[in-house]
Symmetry: D2
Subunit: 337 residues, 4 copies
């Protein structure tokens, strides 16, 4: 940590600060510049996360040197983490394509879409049983039985399933019925939920919050890992900006950046990112070109009648076409599907 | 709802859409413009919240006419809602000043600050027992016993207490020990938590999410009200923008706007909004001038040693001075403290 | 245009409004909903751009139906615009790769980089003679003679050149010496400059402003086209968000969206968008996969010594590698380089 | 400047960097931490503004210690700058209230509004002769003769006038006819225009750009001051965020922050910030409570017919009421009007 002092900082103020740092077991190193004095703090400056150093009189600014996370970092683990989900690898050479309806509605519909996803080359089935909706008057998901529909689809197609948890009280249910537990964007900083899923080794798909910096995103992953669960998949799904042409702004530079900072797999959700079915294909292709380890795509056989997010769902036929295009892009960047 | 059709929309596409609207019991009204055809939907267009109209072929755009909320709206209830918290009114002529430490740390400290807050004219004691922290390595709050410290401070000073809930599993505890349950910014769209606090009539202080539009904010309040709880206090606490000089950007235009759209009381938290103790006083004054019904301010007797957010806490002496200034501003805008 | 009236709007208020609309030669169509009355305005509602309809008493909201632009729209011209720049096509089947140093510094350096860009397959030479810099103490460009260095590089390599104009007073100079005049992000709403370049038929590369919506971006292009110049190239170069890991957030969904709304060619600048040389390659690939018509890339033989934006420049050897990868992606999306 | 090295930085890489710093006449100071090595650069690190230090191999990050500006800083000049505009002080104890129509339209209208502004206690007349408009089809201002209308209003009321310049070619005209030259938000980084107005001592009202950080805002002021003009007034006018309820988000924390960082006067424009007439009064009051040195308010006798921004203009009668309220707030914060 680098502490910059105000030009008017007094001797007693500086001594007071140095004493506090020494108490915490940190070594310091002062540099007298022409216009400012700087204190370099040597030792693990993460100790200072609970210390409001800028509240000390005489302090102008504070800059941490070390990243605030450990377990998620590329420095901690050089090799890419590859997560095995019932035999499907996420984070390896082969891209993981997760697809399915936004919300699970009926058994036959779910199973039908699952077969089409599988036939087109999808490897994991997505579907929401519990739906976080902005309005209390919107469809809230079919709940518990939705997970059973997904299980049936899994039984028939062999694809593992990913579904979103909303409440700490549902953890047992999800441990039993889902192969990947999804934490949605709105819950990225629901720390109690992060701690809960961190206590098991069930794979977790963690979505970036609408206004989360990559730093906050990685710290949320660190919450899960620090509880013991090493199977975290990061998912970029668009951030909130001023632009109103699409629901969110897909931030694809996050993909190579996250992969540089962390060893965890990074996938992209072009459906929620854009909220528009006609942007799904170009953004899916761009994500693969940018180096994503997989995709999360909404597919629905009748988007007009989808009870949730029909606007952004593509039909199975479009999905099939898209998969063909994605295969070519994957090859062009040295991957496969 | 206004549906604008694409110039190339075909007759069968239009009929298909009109049929669907009719099925839903809605009347329609077509207007042939020079360059576009428009369908006005008559009836309660909230029915359409679950219908992906833009997924219909031939549709260019959809604009809702009615606000998506009901119970929170000024149209639904003309008069300001005044919430009684153990005798302290929130939303009335007198401003509600909620103050105290960010995190409750020790009993004596908490009680000591409470006495100083009370002496300076504060009316409600704030303090966090459970703390949502960006990093898993930061101080997470003292938990359950923190609520007991607040209760003791309440016993001694008579001030009701507000504290933040993080987990649906803690609802019983908060119903017993807090006078206002706070839902923090990071949980504004933790819909399960909203539904949970909505099931009782305990006052709820709902903070605006870091990247929540006012529309989303009001819909989260609607979640609580739609479950039966009418005692919701809205709190503006800064939004996330590109500016890095302060932690968030305090959006004071939200105050008159929320009061125009809704009958609920609106308070402002200048401490979390700015993250800097020296901005707390000017922003507190500005909030009162803008028409806020109250403030939520962090006060700590020794900010340097605060285990959480010391940077933004002001000392009791500063708080006392501020209260004197606020009284003058309150009078200038026809209110009192 | 759709005008929604307040529930409490009075008869005289409505008549007053209808009179005004009639005066403007517009036909109206009223629809009485259950909770609101709506006035549909028939005719070219662009007439209303100068009318503050929301300032009329009784009006709740106003929604335009038609896009505010004409000449730039895909509706106005169905086919893609292909711009011929000294024989190099921008907007056609073949991607236009514009590359070169951020700032032109010295003659030999410029010519040297130009040869390397050409050898690697670049088609247009970029280079800034006048540089807009955030700080008055940063290098401001070599000015007029920089354009001569570019001309010499053009003479030797045959590549046309693109360079940025900053001041209306320099228009003659740029008409003589540049093949494409660039309007930078900070000048996207320098309307006098837009009008000036609009008066000629010299191709213009218009960069999206840091916080410009696509609507504003297209309106700036409309400024140029409405003066007579039909040769406008749109360039996405990242927008300002809260994320601080990279200089800006590259908004690739803008590419298919702009191409849907407009017939103009759309290119992407991954260098300025990210400000980091190691993000240039993945974002360039993603841009091509998303459907961009070309790229604008900073290449410098010695980034450490570049007087401007060295952080985001790649070396010629990296550029050569990148071009090989881009060729594969281009083929995968049905284009070529 | 603090340079943090990558853990894998090699000896030759470090030597290469140290050599370069020494060449530039800077002293360095190395600190070996447990996980990182840090180089403190002593001497005026503004020298490094043109050096892409992060492009050097082995460098992880770079943090400047000194603010990048000089002349605008509070450190450079402790006392508040008070600017004299034809006898009206801006930046002193008395608040400067600038008011008038958004766009100057006709002579009598302009003079009429001026008299009403004056009567209500306004001190400076605002009015746009040249208007920067998002659409080329919107009213672009009456141009040169608008300045004459303002001059006539000045002659009759004695109020100095402020008007916006759009083009470097108009500088002579504005030097003759305006008392304060306004640089609008869209031109805050039109550096050629900044340099031009910097060459004279005519007061300049510089508006913050829609997405400008305070750092960029102050650097634009530094552009003007570095050319010799010391009479710069800063104006906060709202920034672009995701919120769509108002045109921009007024950032009032900018007021105390700018006054801490700089000695220049800071005023607030609540009209453009919100784009809604009913938010002008609460935001004007909040601005004064936050410590603003003045206000810029749109007043129009017939907002319905205003050719520009009628939505955000208040009538003279409302302005008069507002002035009465503002006087009380001013007194409450130790100022006067």
């Amino acid at each position: 940590m680098i502490i910059v002092l105000k030009p008017e900082a007094t001797e007693p103020q500086i001594d007071h600060l140095l004493d506090r740092l020494r108490e915490l077991g940190l070594k310091t190193h002062m540099t007298q510049g022409e216009e400012r004095t700087i204190i370099g703090v040597i030792g693990d400056d993460r100790i200072l996360q609970n210390q409001p150093i800028t509240a000390f009189p005489g302090v102008e600014s504070v800059t941490p040197i070390l990243a605030p996370w450990k377990l998620v970092s590329r420095e901690f683990k050089k090799d890419n983490t590859v997560i095995d989900v019932c035999g499907v690898k996420v984070g390896g050479q082969k891209l993981a394509i997760m697809a399915g309806p936004c919300a699970v509605e009926k058994l036959e519909l779910t199973v039908g879409i699952a077969h089409e996803v599988k036939a087109a080359g999808g490897s994991i089935l997505r579907g929401g049983a519990y739906k976080p909706r902005t309005s209390p008057y919107s469809f809230q998901g079919v709940g518990r039985e939705g997970l059973d529909y997904l299980l049936e689809a899994k039984r028939q197609t062999g694809m593992p399933v990913v579904s979103e948890i909303l409440d700490t009280r549902d953890i047992e249910l999800f441990l039993q019925k889902a192969d990947i537990i999804q934490i949605g964007a709105r819950n990225m900083q629901n720390f109690e939920l992060l701690k809960e899923v961190g206590a098991y080794d069930k794979p977790v798909l963690l979505k970036r919050g609408l206004s989360a910096t990559l730093k906050e995103f990685l710290l949320s992953a660190e919450y899960i890992m620090s509880r013991g669960n090493r199977n975290v998949i990061l998912c970029e799904r668009g951030i909130r900006t001023f632009e109103t042409q699409y629901r969110n702004t897909l931030d694809l530079a996050a993909v190579p950046t996250l992969k540089e900072l962390s060893h965890l797999p990074v996938i992209v959700d072009p459906s929620h990112a854009t909220g528009k079915w006609n942007l799904v294909a170009p953004m899916a292709k761009a994500a693969v070109a940018a180096g994503a380890d997989g995709l999360l795509i909404e597919v629905h056989s009748n988007p007009e009648c989808a009870l949730c997010d029909g606007e952004e769902s593509i039909k199975p036929s479009k999905f099939k076409e898209l998969m063909q295009d994605l295969r070519k892009i994957a090859v062009a960047v040295g991957r496969e599907i």
